[in-house]
């Protein structure tokens, strides 16, 4: 009876995180502020995490969850480096607008 | 052993000259080139005595794509090597007392060129051959680039890329052959054996033909030629026209006909038509050329077109003719360009309109120039005649009308050559050319040797023909099915 309502198809998680991922992508395309773009990338990573956890929970092996740890690690490292770069840029040009970064072209 | 020596001596020589410093570079280079020539002479005598077997060298070189270091000297190769090693000293001699800048580099490049050319003519393994083929391009490019004329840069680059384009297609063709070959290798003996379907042959034919057609060059792939000849330093031009063109014609015989007989059967007619059209086209253009070197370039275009036509005629006299004419043309064109250089050296111009009346100022020069001109208009008893007679007869046997058309070269050749000679050498003395010192010793020597060879070959061509006959016969049997 309410058994049906108890069940969540894995596809839903697939769709959800795909959607999240695409929102992240859209953010990257949508904004000019480097920090926001960074955050959108974090969003993409998290959609991946979510999907991983869903898979691992479904398939019952915890490799997925472990992988999420590593993604977190990397995300942290990335953010650290990214923000460091951002700061040194901000020191030079006083802006976080990526459209200003076009000295190098053609 | 001798083969190895024959191949690598020029390389060593070039290094020696490079390290020897510019002061005596010319003398050193000449000496070494003469030694190489002597070695060649010895090789010829051995060949006459005991045939080609003594010369084959075979070492496996690369395992996984099976490439072997396989050299050989059959009659054909030996003739070409002989030509190369005979002309190189002449070419070096022609550069004496011209005080070339950076002489060491210059002459070592010439010798490096010799090395590559000898390699091309000796290589019996596809990839090895290809490597030498490409290698030959580099020294000549730098010779033209460093010591060339005013707007050499663009022209030589065009020449380099144009010819390279052709040869890369050939590389592609070779790789295809490699995979068609059941026991994958580039060895010529196996390439001669392998079976390739008609379809594949007919487009492989173009891969190779384009490469050779650009190098030879056959109209309409010739546009690099005249400019390059004009802009290169004389020795470069001599190397290009005297020997390098022969790479193309030699390769037609060695690497195209026997390997892709059906391709040749299918496209040969088109090729030979191109050649013949090219002959007339080039001859006609040559008539009105105002720059001496340009004129010679177009004349050589016509001659080489006839050589190629003779090859595609696919009969023994055509082949024989092509071999004889390769040598003859090599000798003549080197002589002609040397004469052009002598004129330029004294008058600082090669514009025929600015020349004239040299004859009575420099009788010796005139005589030698005249003989060489006669050689290149194929007067009997000069080397040019033997070649053209056989070639035209070859073409005739292939198709009568084609031979009539090709025969026009006899008339047109006389027209543009004599016209040139008249404009440059004859006419009122001292009007356009005030003074013209006669030949210096080195010029006299070089031209003298050439003249003697021209007549000797015209009177007694038999040795060359006998040397080439068996090879050509076998190749012909492979080609004509």
């Amino acid at each position: 009876m309410e058994q049906a309502a108890h069940l969540v198809p894995l596809n839903w998680y697939l769709f959800l995180s795909t959607f999240l991922f695409c929102i992240g992508v859209m953010g990257v395309l949508f904004r000019r502020n480097a920090i926001i773009i960074l955050m959108c990338i974090e969003l993409m990573l998290n959609s991946v995490n979510l999907l991983l956890v869903a898979f691992s929970a479904y398939s019952g092996n915890s490799d997925g969850q472990v992988f999420v740890f590593f993604i977190m690690v990397v995300a942290a490292a990335e953010v650290a480096v990214g923000l460091a770069l951002l700061i040194s840029i901000y020191r030079n040009i006083g802006s976080t607008d990526i459209d200003v970064l076009n000295k190098l072209k053609w | 052993m001798m083969t190895i020596l024959l191949l690598f001596f020029p390389l060593i020589a070039s290094l020696a000259v490079l390290l020897g410093g510019s002061k005596l570079a010319a003398q050193l280079a000449l000496g070494l080139a003469v030694v190489e020539l002597a070695i060649t002479g010895y090789a010829v005598s051995v060949f006459q005595a005991s045939g080609p077997e003594a010369f084959y060298v075979f070492h496996s070189w690369i395992e996984s794509p099976k490439v072997s270091f396989h050299l050989g000297l059959d009659g054909l190769s030996l003739i070409m090597v002989l030509l190369t090693n005979f002309l190189t000293p002449i070419i070096i001699l022609s550069a004496f007392n011209r005080n070339t800048p950076h002489a060491a580099g210059y002459f070592s490049l010439i010798l490096l060129m010799q090395f590559a050319l000898v390699g091309v003519f000796m290589a019996m393994d596809g990839l090895l051959y290809y490597i030498f083929w490409e290698l030959a391009l580099i020294p000549i490019y730098f010779i033209a680039l460093r010591w060339g004329g005013t707007n050499r840069v663009a022209i030589t680059l065009k020449f380099f890329i144009y010819t390279l384009a052709g040869s890369l297609l050939m590389l592609f063709g070779f790789i295809m052959l490699y995979w068609y070959n059941p026991d994958q290798s580039f060895d010529i003996r196996e390439l001669y054996r392998i079976y390739i379907t008609d379809g594949n042959q007919s487009w492989l034919f173009w891969m190779f033909f384009l490469a050779f057609a650009i190098k030879i060059p056959i109209v309409p792939f010739h546009t690099w030629q005249a400019d390059t000849y004009r802009e290169s330093p004389t020795q470069g031009t001599m190397l290009l026209s005297g020997i390098m063109l022969k790479m193309g014609t030699y390769s037609l015989i060695r690497w195209l006909l026997p390997i892709l007989p059906m391709g040749v059967a299918k496209w040969g007619p088109l090729a030979i038509t191109l050649c013949v059209v090219g002959i007339v086209y080039a001859s006609i253009i040559a008539i009105k050329q105002r720059n001496l070197k340009n004129l010679l370039a177009y004349s050589s275009l016509a001659h080489v077109g006839l050589i190629a036509a003779g090859i595609f005629a696919l009969n023994i006299q055509g082949m024989q003719g092509s071999v004889v004419q390769m040598v003859a043309h090599g000798v003549n064109v080197v002589g002609l360009f040397f004469c052009a250089d002598i004129i330029f050296n004294r008058t600082n111009t090669n514009e025929t309109n600015e020349l004239g009346g040299i004859r009575s100022l420099a009788p010796q020069f005139t005589t030698m120039f005249m003989v060489i001109v006669l050689g290149s208009v194929a007067l009997p008893l000069t080397n040019g005649f033997i070649g053209e007679f056989l070639l035209l007869y070859g073409v005739y046997e292939y198709n009568t009308w084609l031979s009539v058309f090709a025969g026009l070269t006899i008339i047109l050749g006389a027209v543009y050559m004599l016209r040139m000679f008249k404009k440059v050498m004859l006419g009122e003395t001292g009007v356009r050319v005030p003074a013209f010192p006669d030949l210096y010793w080195n010029e006299k020597l070089a031209l003298g040797i050439l003249v003697i060879v021209i007549i000797a070959m015209g009177v007694y061509p038999k040795p060359i023909m006998d040397m080439a006959e068996p090879v050509l016969q076998t190749i012909l049997n492979k080609t004509v099915i």
Binding site: N11, L14, L29, I35, N46, V73, I87, D97, D99 | -
Partner: protein, 165 residues
């Protein structure tokens, strides 16, 4: 029951994610991203990955987002410092992302995966199990990731340290 939970959480996640993208004020984006992360943590709990959920909250909400906040404040970015892209580009961005979504979906929609109830019957998410695995099977990556950290650390220091020009 669990479907309901799923939908509510998902709705919140997506909503907050959209806010991150669309709001003009960086500060708002940061905060809504934090919210988004919390909802995702909720998902983890639903999926019976308790330990992961905790770590997630600590690392992201605790560390990374703080870092973001810190930067935003440091560079005191506010709405007017943030120039939006031109309308055309915005539309283009939306369309492109949409196309990506559609193509992805079109490619995977045909997959049929199983379904499960919350919480899935497994203790895989418990700390000792995860730890167990982390220090046996995943020992090597664990060690390797230290290199990553090390070089990231050095890098961050080298880059961010103030020096006289």
């Amino acid at each position: 029951m669990s479907q309901l939970l799923f939908f509510t959480l998902s709705a919140m996640t997506i909503l907050s994610a959209l806010v991150v993208v669309f709001t003009r004020k960086p500060m708002y984006s940061v905060l809504s991203l934090i919210v988004c992360f919390f909802t995702i943590a909720g998902h983890y709990i639903l999926l019976n990955a308790q330990f992961l959920a905790i770590t997630h909250v600590i690392v992201y909400a605790g560390a990374i987002m703080v870092l973001f906040l810190f930067t935003v404040m440091l560079l005191n970015l506010n709405a007017d410092s943030d120039v939006p892209k031109s309308g055309k580009l915005r539309i283009a961005a939306t369309i492109t992302a949409g196309m990506l979504f559609i193509t992805l979906l079109a490619s995977i929609k045909s997959t049929t995966l199983g379904e499960f109830a919350f919480p899935p019957a497994s203790d895989k998410g418990l700390v000792q199990h995860v730890g167990q695995q982390l220090f046996t099977d995943y020992l090597l990556p664990f060690e390797i990731s230290s290199i990553l950290f090390l070089s990231a650390m050095i890098g961050a220091v080298v880059l961010a340290k103030k020096e006289k020009h």
